[in-house]
Protein backbone atom coordinates (compact mmCIF):
# COMPACT_ATOMS: atom_id res chain seq x y z
CA UNK A 1 0.00 0.00 0.00
CA UNK A 2 0.94 3.64 -0.06
CA UNK A 3 3.31 4.68 2.67
CA UNK A 4 5.49 7.41 3.99
CA UNK A 5 8.93 6.35 5.15
CA UNK A 6 12.25 7.70 6.31
CA UNK A 7 15.74 6.97 5.00
CA UNK A 8 17.70 7.27 8.24
CA UNK A 9 16.61 6.07 11.65
CA UNK A 10 19.26 8.07 13.58
CA UNK A 11 21.15 11.26 12.78
CA UNK A 12 23.97 12.59 14.97
CA UNK A 13 25.19 16.15 14.48
CA UNK A 14 27.41 18.65 16.22
CA UNK A 15 25.85 21.67 17.82
CA UNK A 16 25.86 24.55 15.35
CA UNK A 17 25.88 22.34 12.25
CA UNK A 18 22.98 22.08 9.86
CA UNK A 19 20.80 18.95 9.98
CA UNK A 20 18.95 17.33 7.13
CA UNK A 21 16.26 14.73 7.77
CA UNK A 22 14.86 12.89 4.79
CA UNK A 23 11.53 11.28 4.00
CA UNK A 24 10.34 9.30 0.98
CA UNK A 25 6.73 8.87 0.00
CA UNK A 26 5.15 6.48 -2.46
CA UNK A 27 1.79 8.07 -3.27
CA UNK A 28 2.40 10.39 -6.21
CA UNK A 29 -1.07 11.91 -5.66
CA UNK A 30 -0.14 13.20 -2.21
CA UNK A 31 -0.49 16.97 -2.10
CA UNK A 32 0.28 17.85 1.49
CA UNK A 33 3.02 16.94 3.94
CA UNK A 34 3.70 17.75 7.58
CA UNK A 35 6.77 17.54 9.79
CA UNK A 36 6.42 16.87 13.51
CA UNK A 37 8.96 16.98 16.32
CA UNK A 38 8.55 14.69 19.29
CA UNK A 39 10.65 15.18 22.38
CA UNK A 40 11.03 12.34 24.82
CA UNK A 41 7.86 11.69 26.80
CA UNK A 42 5.85 14.35 24.99
CA UNK A 43 3.30 14.48 22.21
CA UNK A 44 4.39 15.35 18.65
CA UNK A 45 4.63 19.04 17.94
CA UNK A 46 3.79 20.56 14.55
CA UNK A 47 6.87 22.12 12.94
CA UNK A 48 6.07 23.00 9.37
CA UNK A 49 3.97 21.85 6.43
CA UNK A 50 4.12 22.11 2.68
CA UNK A 51 1.66 21.67 -0.17
CA UNK A 52 2.57 20.04 -3.44
CA UNK A 53 2.30 23.32 -5.38
CA UNK A 54 5.44 24.45 -3.55
CA UNK A 55 9.05 23.20 -3.72
CA UNK A 56 10.27 24.95 -0.62
CA UNK A 57 8.91 26.49 2.52
CA UNK A 58 10.84 28.23 5.27
CA UNK A 59 10.14 28.71 8.93
CA UNK A 60 12.25 29.81 11.82
CA UNK A 61 15.55 27.91 11.36
CA UNK A 62 13.71 25.17 9.47
CA UNK A 63 13.19 24.63 5.77
CA UNK A 64 11.20 21.89 4.08
CA UNK A 65 12.04 20.91 0.52
CA UNK A 66 9.74 18.87 -1.67
CA UNK A 67 10.91 17.04 -4.77
CA UNK A 68 7.85 15.62 -6.46
CA UNK A 69 9.87 14.06 -9.27
CA UNK A 70 11.53 11.57 -6.94
CA UNK A 71 8.80 11.70 -4.26
CA UNK A 72 11.12 12.94 -1.57
CA UNK A 73 10.94 15.63 1.07
CA UNK A 74 13.47 16.84 3.57
CA UNK A 75 13.57 18.91 6.72
CA UNK A 76 16.58 21.15 7.13
CA UNK A 77 17.43 22.61 10.52
CA UNK A 78 19.94 25.44 10.53
CA UNK A 79 22.46 25.89 13.35
CA UNK A 80 21.23 22.83 15.21
CA UNK A 81 20.88 23.31 18.94
CA UNK A 82 20.66 20.79 21.82
CA UNK A 83 16.97 21.62 22.11
CA UNK A 84 16.48 20.22 18.62
CA UNK A 85 17.25 16.71 19.89
CA UNK A 86 14.08 14.73 19.28
CA UNK A 87 12.42 12.28 16.93
CA UNK A 88 11.17 13.83 13.73
CA UNK A 89 8.22 12.40 11.79
CA UNK A 90 6.94 13.20 8.34
CA UNK A 91 3.24 12.61 7.69
CA UNK A 92 0.72 12.83 4.88
CA UNK A 93 -3.10 12.76 4.85
CA UNK A 94 -5.00 9.69 3.76
CA UNK A 95 -8.63 8.73 3.54
CA UNK A 96 -10.21 12.01 2.57
CA UNK A 97 -8.03 14.05 4.91
CA UNK A 98 -9.47 12.49 8.02
CA UNK A 99 -6.32 10.53 8.78
CA UNK A 100 -2.57 11.06 8.80
CA UNK A 101 -0.08 8.40 7.86
CA UNK A 102 3.20 8.77 9.73
CA UNK A 103 6.67 7.69 8.77
CA UNK A 104 8.75 5.60 11.13
CA UNK A 105 10.65 8.62 12.47
CA UNK A 106 14.26 9.80 12.61
CA UNK A 107 16.04 10.43 15.88
CA UNK A 108 18.19 13.55 15.86
CA UNK A 109 20.97 13.62 18.45
CA UNK A 110 22.82 16.91 18.90
CA UNK A 111 26.27 16.73 20.49
CA UNK A 112 28.06 19.71 22.07
Amino acid sequence: GESVGLHLPTLSVQEGDNSIINCAYSNSASDYFIWYKQESGKGPQFIIDIRSNMDKRQGQRVTVLLNKTVKHLSLQIAATQPGDSAVYFCAEPEGGYNKLIFGAGTRLAVHP
Partner: protein
Amino acid sequence: SQTIHQWPATLVQPVGSPLSLECTVEGTSNPNLYWYRQAAGRGLQLLFYSVGIGQISSEVPQNLSASRPQDRQFILSSKKLLLSDSGFYLCAWKKGPSTDTQYFGPGTRLTVL
Protein backbone atom coordinates in the same frame (compact mmCIF):
# COMPACT_ATOMS: atom_id res chain seq x y z
CA SER B 1 -6.23 29.65 21.25
CA GLN B 2 -6.91 25.95 21.23
CA THR B 3 -5.55 23.55 23.82
CA ILE B 4 -5.81 19.81 24.21
CA HIS B 5 -5.65 17.98 27.52
CA GLN B 6 -5.13 14.36 28.38
CA TRP B 7 -5.34 12.61 31.69
CA PRO B 8 -3.98 10.90 33.48
CA ALA B 9 -0.41 11.60 32.45
CA THR B 10 0.78 8.19 33.64
CA LEU B 11 -1.06 5.07 34.66
CA VAL B 12 -0.02 1.66 35.94
CA GLN B 13 -2.74 -0.98 35.80
CA PRO B 14 -2.88 -4.75 36.39
CA VAL B 15 -3.77 -7.15 33.61
CA GLY B 16 -7.53 -7.64 33.44
CA SER B 17 -8.42 -4.28 34.94
CA PRO B 18 -10.57 -1.68 33.11
CA LEU B 19 -9.22 1.45 31.46
CA SER B 20 -10.53 4.92 30.82
CA LEU B 21 -8.37 7.64 29.29
CA GLU B 22 -9.81 11.05 28.65
CA CYS B 23 -9.04 13.74 26.11
CA THR B 24 -10.63 17.18 25.92
CA VAL B 25 -10.11 20.06 23.54
CA GLU B 26 -10.72 23.71 24.34
CA GLY B 27 -11.13 26.71 22.08
CA THR B 28 -12.72 25.05 19.08
CA SER B 29 -15.95 23.38 18.08
CA ASN B 30 -16.77 20.24 16.11
CA PRO B 31 -13.16 19.08 15.83
CA ASN B 32 -12.05 15.77 14.37
CA LEU B 33 -10.57 13.74 17.21
CA TYR B 34 -8.04 10.92 17.10
CA TRP B 35 -6.51 8.29 19.38
CA TYR B 36 -3.02 6.97 18.57
CA ARG B 37 -0.81 4.47 20.33
CA GLN B 38 2.97 4.61 20.23
CA ALA B 39 5.16 1.73 21.33
CA ALA B 40 8.58 2.60 22.80
CA GLY B 41 10.90 3.91 20.10
CA ARG B 42 8.30 3.44 17.39
CA GLY B 43 5.95 5.43 15.22
CA LEU B 44 2.31 6.30 15.73
CA GLN B 45 -0.49 3.83 15.12
CA LEU B 46 -3.95 5.28 14.57
CA LEU B 47 -6.53 3.49 16.75
CA PHE B 48 -9.75 5.49 16.40
CA TYR B 49 -11.00 8.72 14.95
CA SER B 50 -14.23 10.66 15.28
CA VAL B 51 -15.74 13.33 13.06
CA GLY B 52 -18.63 14.11 15.42
CA ILE B 53 -20.49 13.20 18.59
CA GLY B 54 -21.22 9.50 18.72
CA GLN B 55 -19.32 8.84 15.48
CA ILE B 56 -16.37 6.49 15.93
CA SER B 57 -14.23 4.84 13.29
CA SER B 58 -11.95 2.00 14.34
CA GLU B 59 -8.73 1.47 12.45
CA VAL B 60 -7.48 -1.79 13.92
CA PRO B 61 -9.19 -4.68 15.69
CA GLN B 62 -8.15 -4.66 19.30
CA ASN B 63 -9.02 -4.80 22.95
CA LEU B 64 -9.90 -1.10 23.10
CA SER B 65 -12.94 1.03 22.35
CA ALA B 66 -13.57 4.74 22.01
CA SER B 67 -16.50 7.03 22.68
CA ARG B 68 -17.31 10.67 22.09
CA PRO B 69 -20.03 11.68 24.50
CA GLN B 70 -19.55 15.41 23.95
CA ASP B 71 -18.28 17.55 21.08
CA ARG B 72 -14.85 18.15 22.60
CA GLN B 73 -14.43 15.00 24.66
CA PHE B 74 -12.91 11.74 23.46
CA ILE B 75 -12.55 8.69 25.68
CA LEU B 76 -10.49 5.55 25.20
CA SER B 77 -11.63 2.50 27.16
CA SER B 78 -11.05 -1.14 27.78
CA LYS B 79 -12.99 -3.66 29.85
CA LYS B 80 -9.96 -5.88 30.49
CA LEU B 81 -6.41 -4.72 29.84
CA LEU B 82 -3.79 -6.93 28.26
CA LEU B 83 -0.02 -6.70 28.66
CA SER B 84 0.15 -5.68 24.99
CA ASP B 85 -1.96 -2.60 25.72
CA SER B 86 1.05 -0.93 27.34
CA GLY B 87 2.24 2.12 25.46
CA PHE B 88 2.06 5.85 25.02
CA TYR B 89 -1.44 6.99 24.08
CA LEU B 90 -1.84 10.21 22.21
CA CYS B 91 -4.97 12.19 21.47
CA ALA B 92 -5.04 14.63 18.58
CA TRP B 93 -7.48 17.05 17.01
CA LYS B 94 -7.93 18.95 13.81
CA LYS B 95 -10.37 21.64 12.79
CA GLY B 96 -12.45 19.57 10.41
CA PRO B 97 -12.54 17.97 6.98
CA SER B 98 -11.21 21.02 5.17
CA THR B 99 -7.92 21.12 7.06
CA ASP B 100 -5.18 18.53 7.42
CA THR B 101 -2.87 19.38 10.29
CA GLN B 102 -3.44 17.47 13.51
CA TYR B 103 -2.38 18.82 16.89
CA PHE B 104 -1.42 16.43 19.64
CA GLY B 105 -1.98 16.30 23.36
CA PRO B 106 0.73 15.57 25.93
CA GLY B 107 -0.02 11.84 25.98
CA THR B 108 -0.72 9.19 28.62
CA ARG B 109 1.92 6.59 29.50
CA LEU B 110 0.13 3.31 30.26
CA THR B 111 1.94 0.38 31.81
CA VAL B 112 0.06 -2.88 32.20
CA LEU B 113 1.64 -5.30 34.68
